[in-house]
């Protein structure tokens, strides 16, 4: 019984890799455009940070139209949470591959440092500030020239097409990768403006379609799930910052955590919540 569930979670983890590889392949070879903006069958889809930036820097354009363009990502995030970051974003893929290579080389699995997340909502602090700065710059200059920092999704294509020359986008991607090798997914949880927007959107819905259920009979409150989480949250929180990477399900020593697709999230007693973060120096 226990083994069966573990295998199922493993399958989901592979699915996250496969889907991100497929997305990367599609956007490099088949779809005309990049993840930050493309046209499919006459209908254009753009990611929310670009959309908000567009509305701010260009108020004459119909806002309704831009919201319509962002609708697939917005609705998906409100329903499912930050699935975009875990199952679609190719930047997350290069980060995960970098981390797994690091683990192979060093032969151990480093745990992310809980210290870096201030109260678990670091993402609100830094990502929010960066997003506000960038948006306010565009108000002053009437140009979206800082868009390359907002979305590294388009950078893959720009790096490919300016290949012989060293582009700023390539330096940017290498910096993200280097940062993530030291602290896994620190970019996603603290700096990515798209991640910030998706977190805010997933706060809007408390009862998501995807939620974690913890078997209270099995749980020993060891706190490994919180330590192991790449975005620095704990499955007990049902946090909006969760990217559903299922690292916690995979590493739980007693297999007490599982992902539930539809249904209410399990309420955790207050004394358990108080003990969830062990202090490790």
């Amino acid at each position: 019984m226990v083994n069966k569930r573990r295998r199922k979670d493993k399958k989901l983890r592979y699915l996250s890799y496969v889907s991100r590889f497929i997305v990367l392949f599609l956007f490099v070879f088949l779809i005309n455009g990049s993840l930050s903006g493309f046209k499919l069958g006459g209908f254009s889809i753009i990611t929310p940070p670009e959309g908000f930036m567009y509305i701010v820097s260009n108020p004459e354009y119909s806002i309704f139209k831009i919201i319509l363009y962002m609708a697939p990502w917005i609705i998906g995030t409100i329903l499912l949470g930050r699935v975009f970051c875990g199952y679609i974003c190719p930047v997350g893929l290069i980060i995960d591959i970098g981390v797994s290579i690091r683990d192979r080389i060093t032969g151990r699995k480093l745990i992310s440092r809980r210290k870096l997340t201030i109260n678990g909502n670091y993402i609100i602090y830094v990502g929010g500030i960066i997003f506000l700065i960038i948006i306010s710059m565009n108000v002053f200059l009437h140009s979206q020239f800082l868009n390359w920092t907002v979305s590294p999704f388009a950078d893959f294509i720009k790096v490919l097409y300016s290949f012989p020359y060293l582009s700023i986008e390539l330096i940017f991607l290498i910096l993200i990768l280097a940062l993530s090798i030291i602290y896994p997914r620190l970019w996603c949880r603290a700096f990515c403006p798209a991640g910030f927007v998706f977190t805010i959107l997933s706060i809007l819905n408390k009862k998501k379609l995807l939620s974690f259920v913890i078997d209270e009979k099995l749980c020993t409150e060891c706190g490994i799930c919180g330590l192991v989480c790449p975005v620095g949250v704990c499955p007990l929180d049902q946090s909006p910052a969760c990217v559903y990477c299922l690292e916690c399900c995979d590493r739980c020593p007693v297999n007490a955590i599982k992902l539930k697709f539809i249904g209410p999230s399990e309420i955790v007693t207050s004394e358990k919540k108080a003990r969830k973060i062990p202090v490790i120096e």
Binding site: S34, S36, S143, F145, K158
Partner: protein, 181 residues
């Protein structure tokens, strides 16, 4: 105020807002620094009517760069200045009539235009460099390159659409294209 299920002080929220407002003044300083410098003026793909308007519309997604059948479009690097970073720049040649970049622009930064209206720039031949190899004369799709009575080549800018083909094939770099707004 409660964010993410945990309490955030009013003081930290005020700090956050104040800090971001402080750094928002940064672009003014930044624009002053970049104003004095002379950057290359980018040659844009068809559909750009006004360069400032285009800059505020373009979301730098790279769709036009990807669909261009001649691979003529490149993302702008730092030699075009910070403002133009990542925007499409015509460095190869443009077929003029295909308009694929306009069709695939997701946010209508490239406006729909008639083929006859397209004018990307004006071309000039440097007579000191020209070796009269006649490549541009033979290859120009609009027959804009003409001979004067002494046999020298010149470009009739009323016919020329600035497609960049002559500049790409010129063996001695005698042709310059000045982009028009």
């Amino acid at each position: 105020m409660i964010i993410n299920g945990e309490k955030v002080n009013r003081r930290t929220v005020l700090k956050l807002l104040g800090g971001s407002a402080l750094i928002a003044i940064l672009p003014i300083a930044l624009s002053d620094i970049t104003k004095g410098r002379c950057y290359k003026k980018p040659l844009r793909p068809p559909g750009v009517l006004n360069d400032d308007e285009f800059l505020s519309n373009c979301i730098r997604c790279g769709a036009c760069i990807k669909v261009c059948p001649t691979n003529g479009l490149r993302p702008a690097t730092m030699e075009y200045g910070i403002k133009n970073l990542g925007t499409p720049v015509l460095e190869g040649y443009c077929k003029i009539y295909c308009l694929a970049c306009i069709d695939y622009c997701p946010v209508e930064a490239l406006k729909k235009v008639e083929v006859e209206e397209i004018k990307l720039g004006n071309a000039y031949i440097d007579q000191l460099k020209c070796i009269l190899c006649m490549r541009c004369y033979n290859e120009c799709p609009f027959k804009a390159v003409k001979k004067d009575e002494k046999g020298y080549l010149f470009i009739d800018n009323e016919i020329c659409k600035g497609c960049n083909l002559c500049r790409v094939i010129c063996p001695v770099d005698a042709i310059t294209i000045e982009p028009c707004d």
